[in-house]
Subunit: 451 residues, 2 copies
């Protein structure tokens, strides 16, 4: 009877989880914007203006990393610290909030689904959530700490002790939170050939993008066969995308003089790995994103749309969402009614949910791209790239961000927000009041011809 | 017991409908390519070469309309007649074949679905099919005839009696079959301000793209309320897309000096209507496609992907496919398990089929675009536009077609074919032997987190 009790408590508190998440995020972004709008936040002691403060705050809270001004050049130390705190709260908060909301929203769908979900993950009592949140916070700081120590071995010799430590902490947090903000002014380009920096950043980003349910499962079960279906899918899809991206980028960019062409063979391998990882959804780069060939840029856009895994610091529609759709398509081709994988069956409601996430996401990207095509002077590729990067909270750009018009800045701000909160969450938050309790009456079935 | 008997007969004949359709199309394209490769097919009396003959034949049979050479300039009268016959056979054949295959493939999915489908459309005995095919052929020639007479009222005064009649017949067939081939050398641009030509072409294209099941339903029932759910969805979605396209194109192109800007107000209205219709999937144009603004070009690409309605001469993933997905997304947002519309419920299997069509289509477009990005020298917008135009059998181009490399020509040929036959049909044709009869055992259900 615990689930019913939780529901009652939530009803008593009058919290709608979708609306709570949306409002919470807006509040955090506005606080950040107010702080960054202060004159002391800027290096030159003058206020940046509210639109750019809002853009930067939204980019940090939504762990996107798109920037209208260079982080080290424009912002004072105070400004940089505000940005780092926004990243950490946005990243951590989303992880813990995502935990909360995925449970609470999941519940709203059907009582049955809710019960199954709680049964499976078997820690979703209110007490369990507190414990879980502690686990998330401790593991985050541990991983970020290890990352910072590894980075400091390269940053201290280069930047000196104080700056080196500050850079190590900033970039470790920015990487684990999949934020993509940097203090070098040129992302990780200066370290394109550096094995330790490359592998540390890549590991932090990937771990941050797997999601806490996956760590718990791996720590507990330690054998692929024993993992939950969710963990299996996350690991397999993540690995497949990394390998696929690595191969495509190595091939398409190998002779591009603006990107891999100018690196050593070791650098080519490292940069291919880095740029296979970064669209999902780190936002760092070691070669110039605007110089990527069309095919590599197109693959990057698709990877940015897919993003990382649920309940993690990564954005995008998520690996499992795309995986569920892929499995459903495969089932149709094989003529099966059940969507099956690893000797398990995915419920239809899950495929529908995945379809809604992808469908709303695409609709949003098309809408924003069409408006930006009117307001901005740039190529279709650059505009679409920018929009998907914002939606996926990636932060890669082909150079459009600093040149965006005011309308463009506001539109990208909204897109980052929508991408981070999740299009479905926003839809739930808005559609809430229309949702009715289901009656027992069902309309008669009628078929149409499709395809 | 009729359905079982049909199945037996088909099994006796060892026809697999998906494979039959694929092989039939390939045979027709190869016959066309052989004829067009003859020296007498070219105006200059020299063979065009097999790759271009194949491209043109595939473009005609698949009623696409992409051309590597100008139809009136390059081809002799013999060549033009071959092209027209290929268009008519391709268009008609697809209509009748689509009838056959949608029934036969539909059957393969489940016995229950098959029975429901046959029950609903209640004419799918072998005798009924013959009758239906007759109906399709007669109605096609009637509509094309009326179209040709209307066009001749403008073409005879301009081109003289013989050429005027030939032009009227050619363009009426090309329009009704959604082929988009023209003999003016500049599509319908010379008639951008001509009300009769505009409305005749627009009507022919729209009627051709509705599909025979819709005509039958309209002729029989004559009242929206009595129409089948399929007819209702086709009519509503077609109307919504036409109005939406009209408004967006009128707004985005109004002041573009290369497109609407140079037309009178009447011309602007006509051209907006025309270019709202043509991406779905006529392929004619009255203003230069390559000069469209990015937003109008993006909308055009989306409309090309959607295309017309099932069992028609139009291409794309089809209106009802997109409609089914839209309704499914809407159901998720409203928190409903059933996908409902017009007091009817769409079966889950139908949504999954729609998802497969769109998913495979997108995958194909991404794959082809990435390869073309390597083999061709052109912008991302132009390459993506060309690929979607080929997949949707539209025939609009931003100028890339005549400049395609040999690999590019072959790849676009394959894409036109895949788009016309339908990605799912090809998948069925290949996956066939792997499909098993369903057992009674089902895997246990397990949930994952998506989105
Ligand atoms: K990011
Ligand atoms: K066409």
């Amino acid at each position: 009877m615990i689930p019913i009790r939780i529901r009652e408590r939530i009803n008593l508190l009058r919290i709608d989880p979708a609306q709570f998440l949306v409002v919470g995020f807006i509040a955090l972004i506005l606080i950040g914007a107010t702080l960054l709008n202060l004159p002391i936040a800027s290096e030159n002691g003058k206020s940046i203006g509210f639109v750019d403060a809002l853009f930067t705050s939204a980019s940090a809270v939504c762990v996107t990393g798109l920037i209208v001004v260079s982080t080290p050049t424009h912002w004072s130390l105070f400004g940089e610290i505000v940005i780092l705190i926004l990243i950490q709260v946005g990243g951590l908060g989303i992880m813990t909030m995502a935990t909360l909301v995925s449970i609470l929203i999941g519940k709203k769908i059907t009582l049955k689904e809710r019960l199954i979900m709680q049964e499976e993950l078997n820690q979703f009592s209110l007490a369990g959530l507190v414990k879980l949140t502690k686990y998330v916070i401790i593991s985050t700081f541990t991983i970020e700490g290890i990352g910072a120590i590894l980075l400091s071995s390269r940053f201290i010799p280069r930047y000196g002790v104080v700056k080196g430590i500050w850079f190590s902490i900033f970039h470790a947090i920015s990487a684990f939170c999949n934020a993509g903000f940097d203090l070098t002014g040129n992302s990780m380009v200066p370290f394109a050939e550096d094995v330790i920096v490359n592998l540390t950043i890549v590991s932090l980003v990937i771990i941050g993008g797997l999601g806490y349910t996956v760590y718990i499962d791996i720590t507990k079960n330690r054998s692929f066969k024993k993992f939950s279906l969710h963990t299996k899918l996350v690991l397999v899809i993540t690995a497949v995308l990394l390998v696929l991206g690595f191969i495509v980028i190595l091939i398409t960019e190998y002779n591009n003089p603006e990107t891999l062409g100018k690196l050593s063979f070791k650098g080519k391998i490292l940069a291919s790995l880095f740029h296979s990882m970064t669209p999902r959804t780190a936002g760092f780069n070691t070669v110039d994103t605007g110089s990527l060939t069309i095919s590599a840029a197109f693959l990057t856009m698709i990877f940015m749309f897919i993003g990382g895994s649920p309940a993690s610091t990564a954005g995008g529609v998520k690996t499992t969402t795309v995986g569920a759709i892929f499995l459903a398509v495969f089932a149709v081709i094989k003529g099966k009614d059940d969507v099956e994988t690893y000797n398990r069956r995915l419920p239809h409601s899950m495929i529908f949910r995945a379809l809604a996430v992808v469908g709303i996401g695409m609709f949003l990207i098309v809408f924003v791209t069409m408006i930006l095509s009117i307001t901005e002077k740039a190529s279709f590729l650059d505009i679409l790239f920018e929009t998907i990067s914002a939606f996926g909270t990636v932060g890669l750009s082909r150079g459009l961000t600093p040149n965006l018009s005011t309308i463009g800045r506001l539109l990208i701000t909204v897109t980052m927000f929508a991408g981070r909160v999740g299009p479905l969450t926003i839809a739930f938050a808005i559609a809430k009041k229309q949702r009715k309790n289901k009656g027992t009456y069902r309309f008669p079935e009628e078929r149409i011809i499709v395809g």
